[in-house]
Every structure is written in C-alpha cells, then in structure tokens.
Symmetry: C2
Subunit: 245 residues, 2 copies
C-alpha cells in the first residue's frame, strides 16, 4: 500500500501474516526462545504429493504450516489411506506422535507447501524453561481432543449433506480466521479425499456438491468453491433438532 519496493514488502507481509496465524509462534518469538539460540526455525519446502513424515517415522519435530495445504492420513492394514485431517497456514502437525515418539500417521503436501520445524528436543527445552509455553502446547493438545469429539459426532450422527455442508463451512471459517475470505476458497482436496475425510464415497460428495450448487447455495468449479448462501448451508449442516412437545 505504501511506496515500497514490491519484493521486500511482499515477503515481509507474507511472513507477518503466516507467523501471526501460527499456533507455534510462541516457540519462535518468545524473548527466551530468541535468547536460547539465534535459531530462526528451520523451514522445509514440499511439493505436491511429497510426504512430510510417514507412519512409523520417529518424530523429529513439531511442524507448523507456513503456506500450502497438507492432509494427514491413517494407514490401514491393506495399505489404503484414510484422511484424518487437513492443515492450512498456522496449523500444527505431529501432536499425535508425542506419546510414542513415532508418527502413527502420514502427512502429505497437496500443494507447494512450506512448514516450520521445531525440533522436539528444542520444544522440550523451551517448555521446561518457560511454563507458559508448556501450558500453550497443552492447550493445543486439549483443543485438538475437543475438536476430535466434534468430528466423531459428525461422522456418527450426521447425514451426507450435513457432513459436506459442515466441511465447507469449517474450511471457510478456518480461512476466515486467517484473514482470508471464508466464502471463496480452494478445496485443495480431491472429491475422493473429501469423501475419505467425511466417511463418504467420492460419488456421494460429488452429487451432494452438485445438489448444493443446483440450490444456488454454492458455486463450484473443480476445486474452487464460492459459498453463496452461508445461512442456508449452515441450516443444512445442523443436526435436525428434535422438537420437544
């Protein structure tokens, strides 16, 4: 907006945005963290399809997404993948590995993606040195458990249209929290991946999106989505309220 050199501005602004939304920023920006070592967190770039870690890998770090989009998958006995969660800018990966020190899941980039790595030894040191940081990580872990509960309700109790509507609103809301439009975004996931995430087949996902589009609630073009009627979508996503007499 000001008369600055384009490249510099763009880079700095992007860094600010990414770090402001980052759930692990306390592991970087704390004075103590900076004092403990002049180590800007190591960054790692991934291209679409590349794995950040796989099931069975020893956990080397906690990861925060700087840019791009990843999915984490459970690896079933037959080798099949099941999508457990997706991650955008500011999200953390690797929380499920703290216990066993081994990743029980696989994380794959769906985009050109960049993540920050906080080596676990360093994370441990920081948490021991500063209780606020330990408490913060506990908060992230606890929050994830609470979110898992909501997802279980969705998988166990909601119809296909409810799950799809909820997914679109959730993804939009997450972009919204990061300062982007909650009404227009890229799904990044294929229909098959969305289906896996929601416990549906890709045909059902496709049909449901088409039906929403036919009702003029959304506009879909490939993986680009615009939410035209958030109110209707939200009504659709709610579990039917059983009216007491």
């Amino acid at each position: 907006m000001g008369p600055h050199r384009k490249k510099g501005i763009a880079f700095s602004a992007q860094t600010q945005v990414a770090c402001a939304a980052c759930a692990l920023r306390k592991f970087c920006t704390t004075p103590l963290a900076e004092a403990m070592g002049p180590s800007p967190p190591h960054r790692r770039r991934l291209h679409a399809g590349e794995a950040l870690f796989t099931r069975g890998d020893p956990q080397a770090a906690l990861y925060a997404v700087r840019a791009g989009f990843l999915k984490t998958c459970a690896v079933l006995p037959g080798g099949e993948r099941h999508v457990l969660s997706y991650h955008i800018m500011g999200d953390v990966l690797g929380l499920d590995a703290l216990h066993a020190r081994i990743h029980p899941t696989e994380a794959v980039a769906l985009n050109s993606t960049e993540v920050c790595e906080i080596p676990i030894e360093r994370a441990q040191q920081l948490m021991e040195a500063q209780h606020e940081i330990a408490t913060h990580l506990r908060g992230l872990l606890s929050e994830r458990i609470a979110q898992s509960g909501e997802r279980m309700v969705a998988l166990a109790a909601l119809s296909a249209p409810q799950r799809v509507a909820g997914f679109l609103l959730d993804l939009g809301a997450r972009w919204g929290l990061r300062g982007y439009s909650p009404h227009e975004f890229d799904l990044c996931l294929t229909r098959k991946e969305i289906g896996s995430y929601l416990g549906l087949t890709f045909e059902t996902v496709s049909r449901t999106l088409s039906r929403f589009a036919a009702q003029r609630w959304i506009t879909v073009a490939g993986r680009e989505v615009r939410i035209d009627d958030p109110v209707a979508l939200h009504a659709q996503s709610e579990p039917r309220i059983s009216q007491p007499a």
Copy 2:
C-alpha cells in the same frame, strides 16, 4: 494371601490395584507431590446416572477413575446426547477441557463409581515443579489424539459388524490391561449407548450381537458378554484387505 485381617487387606489390595492402573498416579505418588502437601487426592463417589461434570461447567480438576464406569457425551443443540467415550478404572477424564477451562462435554457415571480429583491448580503446580509430570500429561493428551484418529477411521470406514466387533475387543483389551479377564466382562452401556458410541442404531447393535452369538463367537446375556472366539471376532473387526494383484 497371608493371615491378615480381611477388611484391611481387601481395602489395601483394591487401592493398590486401582492406583497401579491409574494414568494419573504420578500426580499422587511422586515424592515431590507428597512433599508439597500431605494431601491424598480427594475422592468422589457417584451413583449410577449421576453427572461428574456437565457441558459448560468450569473445569475444577482432572479426574481418574478408581472404580466403576462412566461415559462422556457431546450435548447436541437439541439437547440430545451422543456418547463420545467410555471410561473404566485408571482412565482419565477432563482432558478436553484444559484449553477452554470449560468442559465441552458431559461425564455421567453408569455404575457406582469412584473417581480421584486432581485440582487443576495443583496439577499445574506439579507440572511446573517437575517436568517429568508435565511430559507425562502431554503423553496422555497425545495418546488420546492418536486414539481419536483410530476411532474416526472406525466411524468413517467400517461396517456395523466391524464396529461392534472392534468395540468388544477394545473393551476386553482395556480390562485385560488392568489385570481382569479380556474375554468376560460387563458392557455397562445399554444397546442404545453402544449404538450412539459406534454411530449405529440400537436395533443394529442388538442384531449384530445376536448374529455374533449365533455364530458362537460370543455369549451374551443382557450386558454380560463372554468372547468365545477372539480370533474370529478379530478377523471380523479388521477392514477388508484389498489384495493388490
């Protein structure tokens, strides 16, 4: 086993068993914990149907089950309950509330139940004083997240018989870890609650149990179950392996 007075022995033995299996024992038995205050953890008794906490309650403590059986439920907009998890001796409740300091779920005893309470302020103090304890709780939180992933796979990808078989084996295994028979136990949950937990109707749960009994894999009498053929049940619980050519 020795010639001691009955009552004393029984109580002491029960206490030992319960504490040995308790995920929060480090919050009690650590030398430091004992030094910090002569406070044996406060215990609370609940009768069947009584709530330990409800959605919206401020979190007062972490809870460990000493005896009995509890369920935790999500409370849906219409007031309906959805069973998210069940808890037996040694299990921890309240992990999903650390973030918001408010319980997002409801916990209800299904039995005559006794729980130990670790007030959160005390838990915080202990974790700040001893990193090992903080690490241990992080492990519990992380483990719960990993387990949630497995449950999501079950809810999203498994058939009704697979879910029911998996549920029976899981409950048995959990009793087994505590030194009880993994093959003969009390479900404690009603068919309706099992259905809610597994994302099925109670009729489907009932029919599936009947079918398992007809195959001689299990023996059911009300809520008492004996697993007669763990191998067959386990085969039934596995996702079908898609054979690569």
